[in-house]
Amino acid sequence: MADFETPEVKEYLEIPALKQGVMSHSKPFVSKEQFQEPLGFPGELVENWQQVAVDKLGELLKTNRGLRVFMDSCVKCGACTDKCHYFLGTSDPRNMPVARQDLLRGVYRRYHTLPGKLFPKLVGAMDLTEEVLDQWYSYFHQCSECRRCSVYCPYGIDTAEVTMATRDIMNAVGKGQKYSNEIIGKAFKIGNNLGLPEHALADTLEGLEEEVKEDTGVDVRYPLDEKGAEVLLVTPSADFFAEPHVDGLIGYGKVFHQAGISWTLSSHASEAANFGVFIGSMENMKRIAMRIREAALDLGVKRIVFGECGHAWRVAYSFLNTLAGPFDFLDPRYPVPQHICEVTYDLIQRGALTLDKSANDHRRVTFHDSCNVARASRMGDIPGGQFVIPREIIKAVCNHYYDMAPDTIGEATYCCGGGGGLLTDDLMELRVKGALPRMQALREVTEENGVTHLAAICAICKSQFSKVLPYYGFQMDQIVSVHQLVSDAIVMAPRQ
């Protein structure tokens, strides 16, 4: 299947010799009318697309003042050039964040600045030609909106915002990406990204209850649409469907059970993910987020808790109140919304869970910080809580924990290679190559500390690693959910 070479993991991560245009062929499948329409986008490239694109950019510059600052303030210092996992993995200089951004910046200068209108050649302004649109489509689908480069930018230019804006413009002219747009349509129509209908979800959850009963002898519930529950759990639909995700879901259920917290899932909001953020579409983001509010009100819950999903937590933590608030009907004693890791960490701190660490003695674990959790959110009430809390949970349930190299974790974490709407088979070459920096860091702790498992709190990271680990000589099941580790260590007792 693979018609590309997996990058070689060397002793150190090298800044590659440049190979101009080597990834210009990489393009995801273009969306079709049936996937465009439900999102409010034209079904195919509109006739006057140049004008529509220029106008849309103008509109975004007005509504998003940050975007104009990001367009104006780059001084080409080069600090971002070697920070992108896609550049490091592909060697294509267009994947240097500044170079990718310049594909939009040049067009911005040409149509929205005076010098660019008068003397385009002098200021690096660029006509919006079909070739440029083609480059947009290719390279703005080689950015996972992970924002690692932004950490190192002295001006704080947020590359993800530039990518989102460009994808928004491309959707406005009718050149959308099939993967993300088909999925958003399913979230609207069926309630989740997978397209898992209510009766299939109910059947799946029933199966999990049986499985946990067989394993532990305890009746742990995985309830759906139960009115009056205290907690609404909103989790990625991959948690119902795939491995290792489902083992995390089993873990959430066990935690709620042992803590005596009543909870429910919702068939209306059976998805935490919000791909609206990936395509930079505020309208779609809002529509997806509203499902959660509607479900919370309908079920009469007191708290909303999010499962292990990276970008969902970004949207939840940073935007949920703006998109779907106010949440004044929820219990003000708890964070709105709350992360499942916060819930579990809190319970561990209070001694409310009995944990047998030795259950994980066959694992030596490291933690992969997911980009959206690391650089776009927080957990708990201390700065950097999003780094501390998941690690403290792992250490409370495992005897062997080792961090990867410091410049590859925390706010400097590398993307898994599949984030930002790129977790699709038509981008496999990009995904494999973009995983290089993470695989390099994993190799190091494997060799030095005998690490056997990589734990994560993001559905995309988990699926991406299951797929790319084998390309680098690892096993697909070396990726685990954090709550899978909790699930294995938690001592279950029948409730009195």
Binding site: N192, G195, A242, S463
Partner: protein, 110 residues
């Protein structure tokens, strides 16, 4: 890219998944597998047939735990796990087996 079997042409999507579920027949599944260098044996067929039955009832492919449980019941407990399913369908049971069964590809973060 349409696929041709026994002189009939069937519509597929960009990745070779059948466009119309009702077009499916056994020869079509065999042809799709052959194109990937796989010969379908009775174990493959157990999975494919289960996928089709499940889809008919639920309009979605089964979740991995639903599938492993069902296969474990049919083929023996030692085969009721995803390791076995990956041996049968190296590109992933959810995706490769769905394709041969004529189901749409599962979408989302999977």
């Amino acid at each position: 890219m349409p696929i041709e079997v026994n002189g009939k042409t069937y519509e597929t999507d960009e990745e070779g998944y059948l466009a119309n579920l009702n077009d499916w027949n056994e020869d079509l599944a065999k042809a799709m597998a052959e194109a990937d260098g796989t010969t379908l044996d009775e174990n493959h067929w157990e999975v494919i047939n289960f996928l089709r039955e499940y889809y008919e009832e639920y309009q979605i492919a089964p979740a991995v735990r639903v599938l492993t449980k069902a296969i474990g019941k049919k083929l023996g407990a030692d085969k009721g796990n995803s390791k076995y399913l990956y041996e049968l369908f190296p590109y992933g049971p959810a995706k490769q087996a769905c394709k041969y069964a004529g189901l749409p590809k599962p979408t989302g973060c999977v």
